[in-house]
Subunit: 265 residues, 4 copies
């Protein structure tokens, strides 16, 4: 199926934009980072993407109103260097084929704006909470890795540290390569527990983005905002888990024996 894309405002002129992706994933490290940046930089909404290949549910927001799952694209014009484009959202497409199609769609949009580069963000799930999360990187060419390593503590020796990179964060890198767009993935260590929010990992990634893309977000703001973020993200995480819990429950129902009593009241 094709994607429903809604544009907000006029098409901006963007200067060699860099796409920064932060969809849900391990520890929601990418999502925490990008949602914070959109807020902090007061980035402008450009597109809303919607598809029947999103989970078939609605979220209840803080105003007690429902919202369909959506993925959004924001942009922020920068004084110096490349403008920034952010890919944020509540969900990832539900299956393999739609995940590929979605990633292609994003690359098509980026090409229209003559996108220069892609940075995808994610987490590496450890068995315990990391004291000081390391940030690893991989990319679709050596040059972009060299560029981002310069002056930062990113570790490029990722081979053997992570397995395959699943979902949009991985596919954007692989598919961008076919279009000769440089792409890098920054992956911060985080605790692999499904309820754990990788805010500490997000902070490490922000430091790097600050240095390399001229963001200049104040980390003090981040520290203040973390408390709120925690609450809201915690909520979202639980909601996302609720979906799988319900699906799991449906599947489990069939395994409950006939001997069980049922109560009707």
């Amino acid at each position: 199926m094709s994607w429903k894309i809604k544009q907000f405002g006029k098409k901006p002129k963007l200067k060699k934009p860099i796409l920064i992706e932060g969809l849900p994933g391990i520890g929601n490290v990418g999502k925490v980072t990008v949602d914070f940046l959109i807020d902090e930089l007061k980035a402008k909404k450009l597109y809303e993407l919607f598809s029947y290949t999103f989970p078939h549910s609605v979220f209840v927001n803080e105003n007690n109103l429902v919202e369909l799952p959506k993925i959004e694209i924001y942009y922020k014009k920068m004084k110096k260097g490349s403008d920034l484009v952010f890919l944020a959202g509540d969900v990832q497409p539900i299956d393999e084929v739609s995940c590929y199609e979605f990633s292609e769609e994003i690359l098509d949009i980026l090409e229209k704006y003559k996108g220069a580069e892609i940075i995808t963000l994610g987490g590496i799930g450890l068995q315990e909470v990391p004291k000081k999360p390391k940030v690893y990187c991989t990319g679709n060419n050596k040059k972009i890795i060299k560029k981002y390593k310069k002056g930062t503590k990113i570790d490029e020796n990722i081979y053997g540290v992570v397995g395959p990179i699943v979902g949009v964060s991985g596919l954007l890198l692989g598919l961008a390569d076919k279009k000769n767009i440089s792409a890098i993935s920054l992956l911060a260590e985080t605790y692999g527990h499904p309820m754990y929010l990788g805010v500490k990992g997000a902070r490490e990634i922000l430091k790097i983005l600050n240095k390399k893309t001229g963001l200049n977000v104040r980390l003090e703001d981040l520290d203040k905002e973390i408390k709120d973020l925690e609450k809201e993200m915690m909520k979202k995480t639980e909601e996302l888990q609720e979906v799988s819990r319900k699906t799991a429950m449906k599947k489990l129902k069939g395994k409950i024996g006939e001997g069980e009593m049922s109560y009707i009241g």
Copy 2:
């Protein structure tokens, strides 16, 4: 795929109809409510919907005959206020995409009748049987929530109480919003056990619908009918579970070791 829709009788003229949805879900709260209303109000069947994206099985009814799974639309003309349209059925579409397509189909039908409003019904599964089930609501705008809260005990502070609303009950709200149709979901507490029938929750919802839509169904009738309903619904619930049990069994077969003896007789 497209939906097979069979019309019964002539197209009625409906006065600003309100759609009330009650498909299978947690505790079957919505299904119990809407099936009861259709019976009690002697609502007329308008459409039967069928699709290959329904479960691939047939039900055996009380006459020992088989029936394909189906979803039906009934209507009831009201003396005062909006006419009522009911969405009832044995099943929900099997996957994400068909669930979205089905919900769009229902909205298209509703738009043809210049539908004014949508009420979806469901349950909130608790860890134990609620003594007096509370009814929560969420909607796609503040106005409809205000309207239904007035004079009732509906609790609108649902954020944090439920996770995402999965399936048709949720999607109808989200997709209606794109068409500027007001929609609300009434969710009654019920016991989350898969064998539990949420009749008590349904009764609380009926009280609210009685008051707000001029239904005037006699709750004494409900109390009398509950015994029968229980039996029939119990049966249906077991049948629905049988489907998942069989599917689960199929999957389990592969895990049974080679060492197991088999008996052929």
Copy 3:
């Protein structure tokens, strides 16, 4: 996708044919019965059906050669009464949509031959081996049930005994109803264990078919052949289970901890 149908020999003229279905299912009761009948009656192969929606594997046969999964249609001209058409095979289509499409395809074929009736066969899985399996029936109208009950011990009080009838055996009844073709399902009790072959149940169904369709198969032959049948069917059953076992293993692989030693030799 469409079905690949290969015809064998010339199109025969069939006299009000009755379709008897026996695809894999609980205890393979239907499959055992129909495979035996095809053999015993020396029924002629008419069609071979194949589809990409069959399991993606090949079976190894007794000649150590591979065979793609297939479903076949045979026919037997009868001296008196309706001719018989048999639906036999190794597999059922893999999912809901393809199961519906396949059943429609079969009905289309049957209509071309002016098919008069459908009998689907299956098993009802009990917790233990039944001493003398009962045969239950359900159908898409009362008349066909009456016809088959006359002079036999079929029990029509099946409501509450079985849940939904899943797969082709069920769908053929439901979909035939839309085309005004009478259809009945004969379901014999059998042991619900995945490794158990429902030969005893099949024998009870054969007695009924013998009486009602003028088959005249000698049950003594059946008793002699059972030993061979057992071996072959046992084999097939194990192979079918192997498929799910492999699928299950694939899924389990992901759950095996990193701590496990691996040996490379």
Copy 4:
């Protein structure tokens, strides 16, 4: 969906080519064998196949760069007898339908080169490490089995030893039969543990291929290279498992109780 096929270099003229398939499977026996042969024979890359029905992830290679999953076709011109074509890759298509479509695509390519024969390679998973792995075979006709048995220790009595052959290794045999292309499958015993690499089984298969296809690969080379192969393959195996682990984790998340504490740092 259709397959994206990228050709490398000019279309070669091939002499009655034999296709040798070695995609991932039990113990990766086929993959180990074919990857080794491509290396050892310095086979030339002819095609790269890509599809949205591959797993939606990228692999990190030894250079710390990402690679999309891909399947490749190589060829090697032989001085005597048939030229060889190799089917190698990281993955198999994700589901039944795409697995059939992929196999048809491969057969179409082979027919363009007037392919004479197909050899698919795989493993038979045992409960323990085999001391000296036996090689079994099955095929789509007796003649090819006879040809490959001559002068080798291949055991053709495979009926009852293996269940269905799942995936491309099996389908290529079944579908080739419809096109009158002879095809055989060589299956070496290996340990069924998901972390075990079937290098010993691969060695047995190589001996047979050496003798029957005039490969003349030096087994001493194999023995030297095994150490490196082990490391690299081990890595790939772990990565493939990582994908299923992540998928499994996603599914498990829903089962984690509400009582669990979550830590946010």
